[in-house]
């Protein structure tokens, strides 16, 4: 009886893992297959011969490095700006008392839930007028706008955990609000900041809608947009798609490995109270 229960338990966990992992396994092994094996109608479940030719071609035949660097630049800049704006706003919302504070908080949250596609047309018009269309700056502005509300929400659990006494003591000693934020709040809520940073990096790294609509020149394309071009050609270059899919997935995995548990905590602390 106990054995049967244990078997059922591990079998069910294995089933969930299989659903999540098998498609990824398929991409990874496909990226190492030679072209004839890759495009044979009878798929092999383990590569007969391993090759890195598709990875080498990424660097030789397509501007993969340019796309990659653009993506890194946009993601890092968006993350940095989001961190500054979100911690200022979160401090103000959770620790300063003024009218309409709660209303403002609600408004931020509703923005996050709001469909982004509704911003597509007006922002396109606005950016054209401002002359930033087709630049990476446009993407950074959009990313910060989209990510900031959720970041504020994530910081809530971490900021409200800072004891009020500490803040009061600092104020008595003559520290300004900004000093309190920088010297006390930020160090104490470092895990929260890590969670916010990971979230904004991920969001910017995966952003596609605005990147495809706002960027025209090849030199400014981010990785997802540059790759989409391979997918939508008449003859799809599967080899390049497989290898770039693997490479594009590595930065999120590494960063999640570093800050993942704080991210999960920030995500669920707000949701489960």
């Amino acid at each position: 009886m106990r054995l049967a229960k244990n078997l059922a338990r591990y079998f069910s966990v294995a089933a969930v893992l299989a659903v999540v992992l098998l498609p990824m396994y398929w991409i990874v092994i496909s990226s190492f297959k030679t072209l004839p094996e890759l495009t044979s109608p009878t798929p092999t479940f383990w590569p007969r011969t391993f090759t890195v030719e598709h990875y080498v071609r990424l660097f030789q035949q397509v501007p993969f490095v340019t796309y990659f660097l653009n993506s890194v630049y946009v993601a890092l800049a968006s993350t940095a700006i989001t961190l500054v704006l979100a911690s200022l706003a979160a401090y103000s919302l959770y620790r300063c008392r003024y009218r309409a504070r709660h209303l403002l908080y609600r408004a931020f949250i509703s923005i996050y839930i709001f469909p982004r596609v509704l911003l597509l047309i007006p922002l396109y018009v606005l950016f054209t007028r401002m002359g930033v269309i087709d630049t990476l700056l446009a993407l950074i502005i959009v990313n910060v706008t989209v990510v900031a509300p959720f970041s504020i929400w994530m910081l809530r659990a971490f900021f409200t955990a800072v004891p009020l006494d500490l803040e009061d003591a600092a104020m008595v000693d003559g520290a300004s609000r900004l000093q309190v934020l920088v010297r006390i709040f930020l160090p104490l809520s470092a895990p929260g900041l890590a969670a916010v940073a990971l979230n904004s990096f991920l969001m910017s790294w995966t952003e596609y809608l605005f990147a495809v609509a706002f960027i025209i020149s090849d030199g400014h394309k981010t990785l997802p947009v540059g790759m989409a071009h391979f997918l939508q050609q008449y003859f799809i270059d599967w080899g390049l798609l497989m290898s770039s899919s693997v490479l594009i997935a590595i930065p999120p995995i590494v960063l999640f490995g570093l800050a993942g548990r704080w991210f999960i905590k920030g995500l669920t602390a707000g949701a489960v109270r």
């Binding site: 338990r9 469909p115 047309i121 910060v144 706008t145 599967w238």
Partner: protein, 279 residues
């Protein structure tokens, strides 16, 4: 911060409203005021209503499947097993990837000639001729849904899992002592204790499903025969493929109003329930 919100959210909405009353084509070209013409045109064509229908089916399918799968996966992972801490965090993996990875994967496994799904179906003797999942109007919406659900359900699994872990162990144990079976325990103890979180998951999942652009666009471009053209796809198509910005703005306004009605009715129900529990 407020200035930022104004510049990137409030101003754009007002600008959309303005554009929707004009006849601008390319961005930057001047237009003239045309009043409600665009609205009449949008509401009077089958194109719009077809997209509303596709959006509805897409949203209901996605929310239902994501919700059920997330709940099942959360219940499974909530058990005690070795390595549970690692698995519970890393289950979110599919959500971390850009949708281009998702689209590549979807197109690759569902490909009629090279795809492993067709290969397995044929090997099992279930079908004779290969099926073009993404290429046939009757199947495309379901195929894209399957791919999209794969990406999103782990995200909600993490949230439901966190909620499940806040349930005190004694609650389940006392149910066990009373002789409740697994399903009875689930129905009377676990689900009611996390009902608030489950409601939030449904609200988020539905709003995000309506919002999905990249997975659909990359897999089918709204085709074949408009079978996967949701409102989101239609707005992008009008604005950036046909270069009819005003029409796209009108669609945005109509979609905004529809969602507002949905959001408000959801809020009103939540408020009413709150009042009911107080009384």
């Amino acid at each position: 911060m407020l200035a930022w919100v104004f510049l990137t959210l409030i101003y754009p909405l007002l600008d959309t409203a303005r554009l929707s009353l004009m006849n601008v084509g390319y961005v930057g070209t001047p237009g003239t005021f045309v009043g409600a013409d665009n609205y009449v045109r949008v509401l009077g064509t089958g194109e719009f209503w077809r997209s509303v229908r596709v959006s509805l089916i897409w949203t209901v399918l996605n929310v239902t499947l994501q919700f059920l799968l997330a709940l099942i996966a959360a219940l499974v992972l909530n058990q005690e097993f070795r390595g549970r801490h690692i698995v519970r965090n890393w289950i979110i993996l599919p959500w971390l990837f850009p949708s281009i990875v998702l689209a590549t994967m979807g197109k690759w496994v569902l490909d009629p000639t090279l795809g492993v799904v067709n290969y397995l179906l044929r090997a099992a003797g279930l079908v004779r001729a290969p099926i073009s999942f993404l290429g046939s109007p009757g199947l495309a919406l379901y195929a894209v849904t399957a791919v999209n659900v794969w990406r999103w359900f782990p995200f909600f699994t993490v949230i439901i899992l966190a909620a499940l872990q806040t349930i005190p162990k004694e609650l389940g144990e006392s149910a066990d002592i009373d002789g409740a079976g697994y399903l009875a325990r689930l129905w009377y103890v676990e689900l009611p204790s996390i009902s608030e979180v489950l409601k939030m998951v449904v609200l988020l999942a539905s709003l995000w499903a309506i919002n999905i652009f990249d997975a659909i666009w990359l897999l089918t471009r709204g085709g074949p025969m408009y079978a996967t053209t949701t409102l989101t796809i239609l707005i992008y198509y009008k604005g950036f493929q046909e270069y009819r910005i005003s029409l796209a703005a009108t669609l945005s306004m109509v979609m905004f109003l529809l969602l507002l009605i949905y959001g408000l009715s959801y809020l009103r129900r939540a408020v009413r329930e709150e009042v009911a529990t107080l009384a």
